[in-house]
Symmetry: C2
Subunit: 271 residues, 2 copies
């Protein structure tokens, strides 16, 4: 999917919501555990109930890898289901990968070509040649970790590097990489006050913003400091939506939570 | 496996060689492609021919993920084969993972508990709470990226952070984390001259050293600056060993290359 197609979807649906599909078998309704593939059954129900309210889904690969082959199969089924039934949905593999060049190429091939995701999250620590193999893919996005939503973000990301915080160095340096137009960035909602300065460095890039809801981030603040003419934001909520109920009404409960966020977004877009 | 058990194996085998199992179907002998599971067939042959010459194997997960379910199955079969037939071998999942706390816990569970690896490589960018869930596991090691072997290492890792290079900040900060005795570090052989300073910060920790061979690193230099009383080094070679021949003699050719490195190591240990 191109950036422009994503913007079109956001304007059409009046939503820039991304739903994180982080499926933990200990947290999903018990009756699903008796189905053949509980993870996919859960995802399918959530997708069926919420796809009109969001523009993107983001499975975090850790939750699938934790269940071995079965988890990997559920991930494949989920992305196939999305691509076949909802081609208008933007898909993000939250994998936080990054390795030496020839190895990053293998990851890029796995997530873009084989699984068919629109984008993948990538860690910046290994630098240019660990990220550029992802940027090579046309109409695919590489979402680089810049300033994450967790406490550990202050261990290195906000430390001053040659007179400027490391996450700003990451933003500035990444702009010089080949095909940098295919970059988006992860910026945690828990650090909304940083967004004004971030927008000075990357005025137009899309930001994937985790941390609204369960992690305490505020939607209004994020939009105030981070929104662009083309919106430029994908706000992710995972646990706050998908685990809204532990009972048989889990999908309806997820839709209610998603609908509340979408309404808030619609109001912001109308301003 | 405990650090002491690893040291015992190194002394017994007179080898601190780790063989990287980075299986690319375009590079393995053609006759294997007709077998039911070419990746596992390749790994099994390499392991059977080299296990007496090395102390560790390191599959890079990218190469397995690139083949989807089949790749994941081959990875499971490989680690099971090693744990059942060669429990004296130290195993490293080269996954370069790292995420927010509850997600890192899922990765740790997947690699340590479910797959049964002795260790996993982890990226430091997201800080303390992204790494500590891995450190929680007893008799398992977390191998933190410090100074990698690729060119991109100079993009951020060697930049000065509050008066000290970022990779040194990573080393020093990580020492303060809970269960930091379970840490090892990745330091590329292509940067052997940095090892003397690294040893001032972490005098005893084990280092996983990629980049000898195909990437141009020098074994003698690495040992000169990086070796400790308990050796403290695992030298990894992947392509230089496993792709020594593209013909039916690939396993013997791999053993020859591994044997040459082991002889060099034995001579160094005898000094």
């Amino acid at each position: 999917m191109t950036t422009q197609q994503l913007v079109t979807q956001i304007k059409k649906k009046q939503s820039f919501l991304c739903i994180g599909l982080d499926v933990d078998l200990d947290k999903i309704p018990k009756h699903l555990l008796e189905t053949e593939d509980p993870i996919f059954a859960f995802n399918k129900a959530v997708i069926d109930a919420t796809h009109h309210l969001c523009v993107a889904y983001k499975p975090n690969t850790a939750f699938y890898e934790a269940y071995g082959i079965k988890g990997w199969q559920a991930l494949e089924k989920t992305i196939k289901y999305l691509n076949q039934n909802h081609p208008e949905i933007y898909t993000i593999a939250d994998a936080k990968r990054g390795d030496i060049g020839n190895t990053s190429s293998m990851y890029a091939k796995a997530f873009f070509d084989d699984l068919g995701f629109d984008s993948v999250t990538v860690a910046p620590y290994m630098g240019k040649d660990s990220v550029e193999p992802f940027l090579d893919f046309k109409d695919k996005h590489t979402i680089l970790l810049a300033l994450t939503s967790n406490k550990g973000a202050f261990d290195f990301q906000t430390k001053t590097v040659d007179g400027k915080e490391l996450y700003k160095q990451v933003l500035e340096t990444s702009k010089t990489w080949e095909n940098s137009q295919n970059l988006m960035y992860v910026v945690g909602a828990t650090k909304a006050e940083y967004l004004a300065e971030i927008r000075q460095i990357i005025p137009n890039s899309f930001l994937l913003v985790p941390g609204v809801g369960a992690q305490g981030g505020n939607l209004q603040d994020v939009c105030k400091y981070g929104m662009t003419d083309d919106i430029g934001l994908l706000i992710n909520s995972s646990r706050g939506i998908i685990y809204a109920s532990k009972n048989e009404d889990f999908a309806e409960a997820a839709a209610k939570k998603a609908s509340a966020l979408q309404s808030e977004m619609k109001a912001i877009l109308a301003k």
